[in-house]
Point group: C2
Chain length 425, copies 2
Amino acid sequence: MPEQKKPHVVIVGAGFGGIKLAKTLGKEDVEITLVDRHNFQLFAPLLYQVSTAVLSEDEIAYPVRSFFRDYPNVEFFMAKAQGVDQARRVLLTNHGEIPYDYLVLAAGSTTNFFGMESVERNSYGMKTLQEALHIRNHVLHMFERANKREDSEEERRRMLTFVVVGGGPTGIEEAGALSELVAVQKKEYHHLDFNEVSVKLIEATPHVLPMLTQDLQDEVVRVLRGKGVDVMLDTQVMDNDGNNLKLKDGRVIPTKTVIWAAGVKAVPFIAKCGAEVDRGGRIITDENLRVQGSDRVFAIGDCAHFQLEGMKRPLATIAPVATQGALVCARNIMHSIRGEALEAFHYKDLGTMATIGRGRAVIQNGSFKMKGFFAWVGWMFVHLLRLSGAHTNITVCLKWFWNLFSGLRLGRIITNIQLDDGKKR
Amino acid sequence: MPEQKKPHVVIVGAGFGGIKLAKTLGKEDVEITLVDRHNFQLFAPLLYQVSTAVLSEDEIAYPVRSFFRDYPNVEFFMAKAQGVDQARRVLLTNHGEIPYDYLVLAAGSTTNFFGMESVERNSYGMKTLQEALHIRNHVLHMFERANKREDSEEERRRMLTFVVVGGGPTGIEEAGALSELVAVQKKEYHHLDFNEVSVKLIEATPHVLPMLTQDLQDEVVRVLRGKGVDVMLDTQVMDNDGNNLKLKDGRVIPTKTVIWAAGVKAVPFIAKCGAEVDRGGRIITDENLRVQGSDRVFAIGDCAHFQLEGMKRPLATIAPVATQGALVCARNIMHSIRGEALEAFHYKDLGTMATIGRGRAVIQNGSFKMKGFFAWVGWMFVHLLRLSGAHTNITVCLKWFWNLFSGLRLGRIITNIQLDDGKKR
């Protein structure tokens, strides 16, 4: 571990918050160690495009070290954070302890199955690159298994029923992209009956995208249904044995594919940091983004519970909350080092946007609303601007246009085959 | 399985030979079933670029079905071929039997470790997409493990010594690309001593690329050494325990990375086809590309032993042999169906080319020789033309120019982490 006289800031997590923070603090006279179990920053909002074979994995995963070529004071340390000993001021990892002067928890979130064990065991999460690749491999493999290798229509329908649970942006985007993937597959399976294929979207409440106004919600459902997605609102999931998805109302959907996009919680490591967490496992911070009861530990992004006065709930687990928090956190660490008063975090809401398949999106920011093709163009530009690396922008932009105009899905390769007996080969 | 009155041609293997054959025969009045355990055609000559993080996996893997959108008589069947029962005229697969009227074995080759078990167990092959990804993940992970997580210089040097065995095109290209990857890494590891890093190329004979003239061989060695590759000619490998590579002359190279590009043999399935094979497991064919003793089974490409009269050895395991064989095989199947006399296969040698890292290559065709930058431009065009899909050409071409001018390696992400205890996470 580095021995230095400059204040040592340790950041856990190389997501939107952690990278932004390291880049901002990296310009100051401090030493920084950025810790993550992966060597890349994941552009999570586009995971659904990897899972549906639109983009390559390396287009949404950017090597962490590439951000810090010109920052000799920023060191990346690839390790899994395992806990914090606040008394000794050390971060515990699977590769040893890292002493800190200031620690920032930006460790992110994981899928929340709300305690439903059978659902967790037999459904696909959509939070990591590996999970997105598993979905891609599995969905493509289901078509191959159903095609000429399965005589029972019932079994074929089970293999070709793809269920997405959760009516937030991730669920909407996944269901839309899946329905388009089916359309691409249809051109290439000369002997498969595509009436046996279905894509379903299940949402527990009566509304998709609850942050939008009713007319935009209706537009989203209308477009999805137009693409052939069976949108099931007000429908709750109870159990999944890997072959049958059971609903609370007693109905059963025969399926081997349940993609769970219905909730997130903080990563389990956060519970081992010696501070209070909320029901979602998020660590509770004060208005300065410090963990309660600590003046050297901060938390930002998905793993932090930050509640503005007068608000009913904490800030959402979205990228702008993490990056805006990172800027305030960087300033507050420098204030702390200099013995100055800290700033309060004021979040500026940038609104909501979601694609509903290629060429269509919805955007809302306060009373500003937009839908259709131009909303999609807006969505595209915002995401291209936020992607890391000009080179990636070019290949991603090319692939989006090819996908728009020719339905091209270059990534339809099965790299990790799930055998019928459940073993990988 | 399809029941048809048209002659049913079953092709095992969707490589260069199998795809070319299916596209050619697909225009005739026959039914075709193309069998492969993978749903993509692999552009194997560029595997080394995936293993060194230049290209994405889906840029060298093209979905098989996409070739046959407009061929309703070509059906893809994803299965692992397990043997042939020539008496009953069926191909045996892990998903059942497939009856054929004509069968073509185009199943390709796998790595040949020449019976050295410890080398096979502890070295990396370079024949499949998974193997290329394993190499990429492993090499990148070695840098992360050596950086700040390892105190012993001896261990760090072991982790940072990368050995390629085999002085053919694959070995040359892998060693050159690895040395360039090291140069990219050097810009981003602020605390690692790059004097501890080395790339070695081991070749058992006194010559690299034996098909070239001596002056071109010397050029290749000179360029590789200029890039910092330790080229060890006339050096034979004996044993690899995963930490130490032992040579026949008694020397030991401490390393955790041995990439084996020193030989290929036919895939094991070929031995179960009921016909004679050579020492490399390749099935022996007559001048019409028929398997000896059979008038309904043909073999082409890497898995076939085809020896021209007066030649000392069979044709090489390279793409042009497979694709030229496919064209003759297609005609001979049609001749057989029509009761005509078969054609003999005459191979036209297109010469040899190999890159030695970005911006440099060697080309030889008979007395025509070329080296340096313009040979590289030639290499680039030939490979771009042969890649599948115009869209892939564009992204690959972009990445090659970025790599040439800025040393950019977008793919440096570790997606499958080998833990220190050998387990994956």
